[in-house]
């Protein structure tokens, strides 16, 4: 069995770390502006313009909170379910290969799962430079997907199953260039009632050969 791993990338962790000083500075700036506005109201009375500075800081706080929430979401989602263990029966997957995915995930707390969605997708990632900015864009194409029915899970219960999937014969192998890449991913989304969805992706290395 070949254990699959999530694709490399800092992503949300870096965003979360960046969001902490951003939000703190935005809060500090807005609080200072609010104190200034209060003293101005005491001296000169209320005008609409006294609120301008404190209100200016609010969108920055909202952006900071949004980044914090986005960064912390996987951690909150992971409070109910453990990281899944995903493996495939092939040590080397070729274009056109069929393989069996074994999935196992333990529930840390009671959870009402509405459904689990698995998608086999090919992701194009293109990075380009425009002036001093570097932009990365992604495009996902779903090759196959299936749903696992929802049910209630108690603490310690395990969601486990095996399922056969196939890389299409007219598909592409994994490609890694300096600015462009093509990757095959197994995307998992566990929809827990009243709780953020648990999402995870696992990379499947597809060799440049056709399965016989």
């Amino acid at each position: 069995m070949n254990a699959l791993k999530p694709p490399a990338g800092a992503g949300r962790g870096c965003l979360f770390l960046f969001a902490i000083p951003w939000t703190l500075i935005a809060c500090f700036w807005t609080a200072a502006a609010l104190l200034g506005a209060v003293s101005m109201v005491r001296e000169n009375g209320f005008t609409v313009w006294t609120l301008a500075f404190p209100l200016f800081g609010l969108p920055f706080i909202a952006i900071g909170v949004g980044m914090l929430w986005y960064g912390i979401l996987p951690w909150i989602a992971g409070l109910r379910v453990s990281k899944p263990e995903v493996s495939i029966n092939n040590t080397s997957v070729k274009v056109g290969d069929s393989f069996t995915i074994s999935y196992s995930q333990t529930f840390k707390h009671r959870a009402e799962v509405k459904g689990v969605k698995f998608s086999l997708l090919v992701r194009e990632t293109a990075r380009y430079q425009s002036g001093s900015n570097t932009t990365t864009v992604h495009h996902d194409e779903t090759a196959a997907e299936f749903d696992y029915p929802g049910q209630s899970y108690e603490t310690g219960d395990v969601l486990a199953f095996s399922r056969s999937m196939e890389i299409p014969r007219d598909g592409m192998h994994t490609f890694q260039g300096a600015h462009n890449s093509i990757a095959w991913l197994l995307q998992v989304k566990v929809d827990v009632a009243g709780w953020p969805d648990y999402r995870e992706e696992f990379e499947i290395q597809v060799e440049p050969a056709i399965a016989r």
Binding site: E124, A126, V137, F175, A178, H179, N180, I210
Partner: protein, 132 residues
């Protein structure tokens, strides 16, 4: 700008209507390129390269995988000169057409001229195994 006429004759591969010929990964591509300059050309070399590059949204990735120097010296104006070539295709990357990324293979004939823009000609091919 130097005017040069290039004529390609590439053998092998699997031809399909309206598309470039398909070649299997690991195979060889051979043929001839006929070069006819309008005037005498003193060239440092005629290089025939096998290369791929990406097109699409991302910055370009490119790699030359095989190259041969077919000729060095003076090409006579108006006289067709035929240069055979034989290049080996690698296993990857396969030709690909996607949403943001295209991977294109081609054979390039590049006349290296001193202190002038090199006349070039590109012959596109597909590198991909037969799916069925």
């Amino acid at each position: 700008m130097t005017n040069v006429d290039f004529q390609w004759n590439v053998q092998g591969g699997e031809a399909s209507a309206g598309r470039a010929a398909r070649f299997d990964p690991g195979s060889t591509v051979e043929g001839t390129v006929t070069v006819t300059p309008q005037a005498d050309l003193n060239c440092n070399g005629i290089k025939i390269r096998l290369e791929w590059h990406t097109e699409g949204r991302g910055d370009r990735d490119r790699k030359s995988v095989d190259e041969m120097v077919a000729f060095q010296g003076v090409l006579a104006g108006g006289q067709p000169a035929v240069f055979p070539f034989r290049l080996t295709l690698p296993d990857q990357p396969w030709s690909y057409t996607g949403f943001y990324i295209n991977i294109l293979w081609e054979i390039v004939a590049d006349i290296d001229l001193p202190l002038a823009i090199n006349p070039k000609s590109h012959f596109p091919i597909l590198l991909r195994p037969r799916a069925a």
